[in-house]
């Protein structure tokens, strides 16, 4: 009989091995699901995970999709390390796109050197307002941030719907629910001409590195870590929980807003009824897959970006429904959290030998 017993310490080995095991199990389980759906499992997993990388423009598409995921994942790692459970980054992302994008639509002919930075800042502030509202409600009314941040996501989504079907609808858009295209000045610079590679692709890893330094090396980051691991010890040390909740929500919300603005201007080119294909929720998986370490969100963001591309590829070449992406992500998060059990526990297949002294 296998026996489960606590290790009494956190395994270093499984800290690295658990995400990899989770990934392998996810591959096996999704292969099984594909087989049940009557598709050849090997070829399907190949189409899902490998094809997007080797086809024309695959890497470009990958980094463009990964950038917003990494930005949001970094912010979430910070918040989650302090036990602040912001799950509303999807709404903060959308509000950033609305606020910053609104500036771009209002002043399409402004000086690009002023306009785009202004949009970036306003977009970030938009995300911070949405995140700050959550922080305020938690501190003022003791409202659970999981609920409030999630509900604000729907509020923001309906605000977007109202704007693109109402006041911001493009008069020349044949009645489609969408705004005018962003002007060149409002679209921001490209790192590589004639591609979608926008500044966010450079910003995302830089932000990840900066926040890693902040979290691991600074007094502020120490406060986050202590708060997340022992609330009473944080109080004993004199760290203000309210202040840290504010910072966590403003930073994670602001980064989501910035990512939203970059997505709207850099890849979408206009606002439509949907800015985020669930990026905000995928970012939660990114944060956990990266072990809540800002640097870990870089490979995690790339992998989750791949699942979006893989979903498209599987849809086109195998006729699988688009829901495959969501299923794959869900299975991955499930195994990820499950495998973390091995951090603190071990499985013994035989009874422990008794040491005789």
């Amino acid at each position: 009989m296998p026996k489960i017993e606590p290790r009494g310490y956190e395994s270093k080995f499984w800290g690295y091995a658990s995400p990899i095991l989770a990934l392998l199990l996810t591959g096996a389980t999704s292969g099984l699901i594909f087989a049940i759906m009557g598709k050849p499992p090997g070829r399907t997993v190949y189409t899902f995970l490998i094809t997007p990388l080797i086809q024309q423009g695959g890497l470009e598409a990958l980094v463009v999709k990964a950038a917003p995921l990494i930005m949001m994942g970094v912010g979430l790692s910070l918040a989650y390390r302090a036990n602040v459970w912001n799950i509303g980054t999807d709404g903060q992302f959308t509000l950033g796109a609305i606020c910053g994008g609104g500036i771009g639509l209002a002043f399409p002919d402004a000086n690009p050197w002023l306009l785009f930075p202004a949009m970036l800042i306003i977009g970030t502030i938009g995300g911070m307002v949405s995140g700050g509202l959550v922080a305020w409600m938690r501190i003022r009314f003791n409202a659970n941030e999981i609920l409030t941040s999630l509900m604000l996501t729907y509020v923001t989504q309906y605000l977007l719907l109202y704007l693109v079907t109402g006041p911001w609808r493009d008069p020349q858009g044949f009645g489609f629910p969408q705004t005018a295209q962003f002007s060149d000045a409002a679209s921001g610079p490209r790192l590589v001409p004639d591609t979608n590679i926008h500044v966010g692709i450079l910003l995302a890893p830089l932000i990840a590195i900066a926040l890693w330094v902040m979290l691991e090396k600074s007094l502020l980051g120490f406060q986050f870590r202590v708060l997340g691991q022992a609330t009473r010890a944080a109080r004993f040390a004199g760290f203000s929980e309210n202040r840290l909740v504010w910072i966590a929500m403003l930073v994670s919300g602001g980064l989501a807003g910035m990512a939203g603005l970059l997505e709207a201007t850099g890849t979408l080119g206009q606002l439509t009824t949907q800015v985020s294909p669930g990026y905000g929720f995928t970012a939660i998986i990114v944060a956990f897959l990266g072990r809540l370490n800002p640097l870990g969100t870089i490979p995690a963001g790339l992998l989750l970006a791949l699942t979006y591309l893989g979903g498209d590829a599987a849809q086109i070449s195998l006729g699988l429904p688009n829901a495959v992406t969501g299923i794959f992500q869900g299975i991955l998060l499930f195994y990820l959290l499950g495998c973390d059990f091995l951090l603190l526990h071990r499985i013994r297949w035989r009874a422990a030998p008794v040491k005789v002294a």
Binding site: F222, A230, F236, S240, V354
Partner: protein, 520 residues
């Protein structure tokens, strides 16, 4: 009794072995409890007493060993099985619902509806028989800790046990309550219920127990008759070393500046069933150690938090540190005034167990050691501070990179006391300085506290251990119901006088004094 009990001991265990990951908690331990016997199980923290007892009570399954109960070999499956065999246990930490009545709490512990018939009457009957007065209809949160313990004992006695296991029962009692408990226990033993008494209070064991099994590091080391040994001899068997006495202090240093002043400090407890503090006024001079005695749950934690700044006072003048009004300051600001604090709970309050010792040194030391440069942690100096604490306080560990939870309780406590003492505080507050700490570590901590006072710091120790207070303190005050009595010099205090104050209700001698005046 329908039939005479079979001959032989009530309980006999041999070769009991239990391996935990990385720790052999019990290594071929033997224990024999005779009928009608009060048997002591002695040992330091971590000696394996709890593991052994948990095996008897069916909470932990042994890896090897034989347990014979009333002449028959048994393997106890779970606590319910143990109860059916006639084994009852009173744990150190009670499992009572505060919002329910005494009778309701006891009913919850019973198995079937049939057992609940006439429960109230049986509670009254048993509690009166054994001198454990209890009102079945009182709500638990109104009861004192001593009364709560009675509930646990009565709960066991209702099952007519043949063996009652008691884990550190007197740590929550006043001296007079201890005497009453002993009367009850002796009576139980005489009537056929043996008692396994776990304690590290050697004086009590000598007074109460007719046999003692002493454990160290998971093994039996001796089987003695406690009355034939001195306390010092028993302690030396327990720790396997000669026990040094702490060097007595030469008395108050010349300094008499008031370094810590509490001025009508009144705070509401943030906890639901906590104790509010009322009008606490105290003066502690430099070089002085003030002891705060009291039974657990009388406002000690609130006093600690109000002093460390985790709970703010109503007014800045309520707390003065070196003359500076600090009542509205948070912990970090109070540390800047060289106030240092050691809370009672090590895990998750004084220390973050999942962090390294270096990080834990930083936790409360970054202000006075100036370990932050431009917002970043100075890791090299933090490491050095931690290494210094480990070295100067003889903390047994692999080094500053070890996780706090890898340390034993005594070693972690030495680290935490060292962390504060080495910040050269002007005011040091310690709540339960040696709670759950072995004798060697306790001595080191006591010496550090005395040395610090000698250098001119004002020290307050809050402790449930009266012996500790009498060893360390220059003056003693008692906390009861959130009020603190006027301190009296230790040389004028007796265990009895302090014990009376701890009881709370007898703390006001106003009535007898007034009565005698009218007679005069």
């Amino acid at each position: 009794m329908p039939s005479p009990p079979p001959p032989g001991p009530l309980l006999s265990m041999t070769g009991m072995t239990k391996q935990y990951p990385g720790c052999l908690a019990n290594d071929h331990v033997s224990l024999t409890v005779e009928r009608n016997q009060i048997h002591a199980l002695l040992g330091e923290n971590g000696a394996g007493k709890s593991t052994l007892v948990k095996m008897i009570y069916g909470v932990v399954k042994p890896d090897a060993g034989k347990m014979v109960w009333e002449g028959e070999k048994v393997a106890v499956q779970n606590p319910g099985h143990a109860q059916r065999l006639g084994i009852g246990m009173v744990f150190q930490h009670f499992s009572l619902f505060e919002a329910l009545t005494v009778a309701e709490n006891i009913a919850l512990g019973l198995g079937s509806a049939a057992e609940r018939v006439g429960l109230r009457d049986r509670i009254v009957k048993v509690s009166n028989e054994y001198g454990l007065p209890l009102d079945p209809d009182r709500v638990v949160h109104d009861l004192s800790v001593g009364e709560r313990q009675r509930i646990e004992i009565v709960r066991c006695l209702l099952q007519n046990p043949k063996l009652l296991i008691m884990d550190e029962p007197t740590s929550v009692l006043t001296p007079s309550e201890v005497q009453k408990l002993f009367v009850t226990l002796r009576r139980l033993a005489a009537e056929g219920c043996s008692i396994l008494y776990i304690s590290h209070k050697l004086e009590e064991v000598r007074a109460l127990c007719s046999a003692a099994t002493i454990m160290r590091l998971g093994r039996n080391v001796a089987q003695v008759v406690p009355a034939n040994k001195t306390v010092k001899e028993l302690a030396e068997i327990m720790i396997a070393a000669d026990l040094r006495e702490p060097t007595p202090r030469p008395g108050l240093a010349g300094e008499t500046r008031q370094r810590l002043v509490l001025n009508k400090l009144t705070v509401r407890s943030p906890h639901h069933f906590g104790t509010d503090l009322h009008d606490v006024s105290l003066l502690i001079a430099g070089g002085e150690i003030l002891g705060i005695a009291g039974i657990a749950g009388n406002g000690q934690n609130e006093l600690m938090d109000a002093l460390s700044g985790e709970i703010l006072a109503g007014h800045p003048e309520n707390v003065l540190i070196d003359g500076v009004p600090a009542g509205l300051m948070g912990p970090a600001e109070r540390r800047r005034l060289r106030g240092c604090f050691v809370p009672e709970e090590r895990n998750g309050h004084g220390a973050v167990t999942t962090m390294t010792l270096a990080e834990n040194a930083f936790l409360s030391g970054f202000v006075l050691h100036a370990l932050v440069r431009f917002g970043l942690i100075d890791e090299k100096r933090t490491h050095k501070v931690a290494a210094d604490i480990i070295h100067r306080f003889d903390v047994r560990t692999t080094g500053p990179k070890a996780q706090a939870r890898s340390l034993s309780g005594g070693n972690l406590q030495k680290f935490l006391v060292g962390r504060e003492v080495l910040q050269d505080p002007s005011v040091l507050i310690i709540n339960q300085p040696t709670w759950g700490v072995d004798a060697g570590a306790a001595l080191a901590i006591h010496e550090a506290i005395m040395a610090l006072a000698q250098e001119g710091a004002a020290v307050m120790i809050i402790s449930q251990d009266l012996d500790e207070i009498f060893i360390l303190a220059d003056r003693i005050a008692v906390i009861a119901g959130g009020r603190v009595s006027d301190p009296i010099p230790t040389r004028d205090a007796t265990i009895e006088s302090i014990g009376r104050l701890m009881g709370g209700t007898t703390a006001q001698p106003a009535l007898p004094v007034a009565a005698s005046l009218t007679y005069a």
